[in-house]
Amino acid sequence: MIVNPIKNGVVLDHIHAGGAMSIYKALNLDKLGCQVAIIKNAESEKMGKKDILKICEPIDINFDVIGYLDPGITVSIIKDGKVAERKHLELPEKVEGIIKCSNPRCISSVEQELPSVFKLTDREKRVYRCIYCESKFKSQGDIK
């Protein structure tokens, strides 16, 4: 399969196989007017299989969102056909508005429009805790 190289835009590589669609949705790529290529199950020496997203327009990426969803992703910013910047992601210290607290006793279950905020409390084990009730939420790592 051939997807033409892009001139200006963003490439998200090393997405967990099967994970491209959740990244697509989380970054609201459906709202873009430009070309977006979703490559599923590409061969990868490192990963066996992987997904890739190519976006033919320079856009602002919310690194916290994708870092949380899949910290293994490599982000390349393409300018004039060349890689201008390459970023390896890591788990963000804080995630806002991506996950919700499931504790029914948490204030976030009743308070109007309270932003859902989680803090990373254990990087090794990928533990996030709700800032309000401190309930644990485990990062999926592998996207489901």
């Binding site: 006793r105 204030i107 308070e111």
Partner: protein, 304 residues
């Protein structure tokens, strides 16, 4: 402007300072009787907790201040569906400091994000209750004159008891404190407390099911309630509940200077025959709660 939502926010130096001020208040009450003249404390209690509310209100009155607020959400704006954020924005225009009790975990934190005045967490569900822990600490300090080199027994519901978890966290800051964790199998201390506080801090502790065996080595015995609803079946509850009731028989081999604490209310886990034992400190403990709340109000209001 600072709030107190979680005891962990206080440094050891700040806790020591609160203890020192509390002791000075106890020794010289008149010196403090006008310190908060013209200031108002709002007690926003979204669920009833008469004991805690009265303690806060008495604390403010003894500082010469005034009190306003509500004692349950039944006839307050909360019952009309107003958010915590909105209520606090409004009330912080009327009061200089707010004590909030709320059944939802994290509500006082939300309040502190929107308030123009300091917020004191007066209990948020099963989550935090920092002024209870401060009252426990003041009691231990007044009884023992120190926080280090103590063997602290904690007995009863160690699984769900938030006061137990906070007290372990607070006492772990001091040198050579040993914990004896006394509970039925079903109500043992959660793994994360062991891992995140005890193991991480390299703190000495043992777990046991027998109160009687543990008693002789203790300097402090912190009793908590074993609640019926924590058990899956009635038989287990009936079998176990007497094991964790403190009576004079179980105290036979205790140290002469043991201090017995309980956050109250007691149901039956301490026999009334202990009440007149000089080692019983639980009524002083509630009184200490008032003094430490006075010290805390002064600190958060920045009153010298």
């Amino acid at each position: 402007m600072r709030s107190l939502i979680d005891i962990k926010e206080l440094s050891t130096a700040e806790i020591d300072e609160l203890i020192t001020v509390s002791k000075d208040i106890i020794a010289n009450p008149v010196k403090y009787s006008e310190k908060c003249r013209g200031k108002k404390l709002a007690t926003l209690f979204y669920e009833p907790s008469t004991r805690t509310r009265l303690s806060f209100e008495a604390a403010m009155y003894e500082l010469g201040g005034n009190v306003l607020g509500f004692a349950s959400s039944d006839n307050s704006s909360a019952s009309k569906g107003e958010s915590v954020a909105d209520t606090v924005r409004v009330v912080s225009g009327y009061a200089d400091i707010i004590a909030m009790r709320h059944p939802k975990e994290g509500a006082p934190l939300v309040a502190s994000m929107h308030s123009l005045v300091p917020i004191i967490n007066a209990g948020d569900g099963g989550h935090n209750h920092p002024t209870q822990t401060l009252a426990d600490l003041l009691t231990i300090n007044r009884e023992k004159g120190r926080f280090d080199n103590l063997t602290v027994g904690l007995c009863g519901d160690l699984k769900f008891g938030r006061t137990v978890h906070s007290l372990i966290g607070a006492m772990s800051r001091y040198d050579n404190v040993k914990f004896v964790l006394i509970s039925p199998e079903e109500l043992r201390i959660p793994g994360y407390i062991k891992k995140e506080i005890l193991d991480r801090g390299n703190i000495d502790y043992v777990e046991t099911r027998s109160l009687e065996d543990a008693v002789p080595e203790l300097d402090i015995l912190y009793m908590t309630r074993v609640q019926r609803e924590r058990f899956f079946n009635e038989d287990d509850y009936i079998r176990l509940k007497d094991t964790y009731i403190l009576n004079s028989g179980k105290l036979a081999k205790a140290k002469k200077d043991l201090s017995i604490l309980h956050p109250l209310p007691r149901v039956n886990e301490i026999s009334v025959e202990i009440d007149n034992d000089p080692r019983a400190c639980y009524f002083e403990q509630t009184l200490n709660g008032k003094y430490i709340r006075m010290a805390l109000i002064l600190k958060l209001l920045g009153v010298e």
